[in-house]
Symmetry: C2
């Protein structure tokens, strides 16, 4: 997407969450597995749309980050969906490696029984 | 799940988001469509686990709500997954009706082209 299109889209979002962010859900474009949830500010969304790679805003580190910047496991964006009140998006992605920093394909690798007894 | 089990699980979550919440993603337990994203505080998670119906904490209305309380479109929880840093969950749900207040099955009913030109 070119810069003008990205600006037109990003300007319609409601960055109402912490530190002016929206919630971004990464979903595998083929398996439909939910891989990760993060926050995006305007800049992270703009860069995601113009580069085709998922960017986030880290609330804990208070900085923009390109997912995969150190690991090489970029998340290539194949599509995007917007929710009814424009404060959340789904990014349909093709991961170039495990999405989770633990090495699991998804950050959601535990069911509630695992965590309850862990 | 009984109250003791629900407490054991909820006490392991990191309610680090706005107003002491976690992010909850509703995903259809069969189609794997992502239906909605919301926030849950401790009480909302506890009630979700003990009743088997998705509850949320509304940041805008600053109150607990049972999804479907007025519409009857309850979201029956068939499973739950926890992410790597315990600040987000996926609820695998069986919706008893459209999940979105617009009448759409999912809140994510628009792709980015729809919103960009809308």
């Amino acid at each position: 997407m070119n810069e003008e299109e990205a600006k037109a889209l990003a300007s319609k979002m409601n960055f109402r969450h912490e530190e002016n962010t929206i919630i971004a859900v990464l979903q595998h474009f083929q398996t439909k597995d939910v891989l990760m949830v993060g926050n995006m500010n305007y800049e992270a969304l703009f860069l995601t749309l113009t580069t085709g790679k998922a960017h986030f805003y880290s609330l804990s580190r208070r900085k923009l980050w390109l997912k995969g910047e150190t690991s090489g496991n970029f998340q290539i964006v194949e599509g995007m969906k917007v929710d009814c009140d424009e404060d959340a998006v789904i990014l349909l992605v093709r991961p170039l490696g495990p999405t989770c920093h633990t090495g699991n394909s998804s950050c959601f690798y535990r069911d509630h029984l695992d965590i309850r007894n862990g």
